[in-house]
Symmetry: C2
Subunit: 130 residues, 2 copies
DNA sequence: TGACTGCTTTACGTTTACGTTAAAGGAAGA
DNA sequence: TCTTCCTTTAACGTAAACGTAAAGCAGTCA
């Protein structure tokens, strides 16, 4: 099937229908309608994925909307397209910084783990030697 | 110098004194006092760095506090130490997932860039051929 | 001494991202 | 036809992370 209901998407992505409608209120989604009911296309589904991934990485809904809008208005408009590319590259920079932060935290965690495992083993030896 | 005022830290990390005091209210910092005034040690400074890095990665202040508390209570307590290690490894999992998300977004961005640059060049050629 | 500057506490305000009823309208099954 | 279920819009509520006065104390510079 090529279309989805709001509950389909909610179940698939483990979010509430309220959240999905909220994204629409904020201009992030614009599903078709069948009567009053919302009908989501594959494209809408992709946008939901993009929203969720972006959210997990700390991007605000406003930021995501700006990207979507820019992408939409960049179709055929050369100036907008250049602007879109600029924004994309700034996002890339930010993602790179986050990657660095993650590396630092991972190595911090490694350090703590190594240190604490040494301590745990010491305790064991102490017990054994008693 | 081995100690810092609240404005020292605020300037160094580009945050407001309000934020620093808020972190203290939430139990994330416990600076010494000189009279009524706060005096921050190098250890406090490290904690501020940890807080900010964690925040940039989307961790909540409550989560950060729990880690700090666990770390503090793990000194000499074997059970708490094991618990600390467990939590650390769960954080590591989450960081790994974020890394994946970042990779996906970066490759998405690469795709968009490549695609749009092709379009831009087409336009140029079109103009040249006219 | 008085003004200025910086730090303090207290407390209400604000933004983001939804949660949570509430009220009402199809549509399908017993 | 009645009940049940899913959907809709509308509106108020909430948690997190501070922002923003307000008002007082402490040091210092002229």
């Amino acid at each position: 099937m090529t279309t989805f209901t709001i509950t389909d998407l909610a179940k698939e992505y483990q979010i509430t229908t309220r959240a999905i409608r909220f994204y629409e209120d904020q201009g992030l989604l614009a599903p078709a309608r069948s009567g009053r009911n919302r009908v989501y296309s594959k494209r809408d589904r992709v946008r939901v994925e993009l929203i969720l991934r972006s959210k997990r990485l700390g991007f605000s809904l406003v930021e995501i909307k700006e990207l979507f809008d820019l992408y939409d208005s960049a179709q055929g408009d050369k100036a907008q397209l250049k602007q879109f590319l600029k924004v994309l590259s700034s996002k890339r920079v930010r993602l790179g910084e986050m990657k660095k932060d993650i590396e630092v935290m991972l190595s911090d965690i490694d350090m703590f783990e190594a240190q604490n495992k040494r301590i745990l083993e010491k305790h064991v030896h102490a017990k054994e030697s008693v």
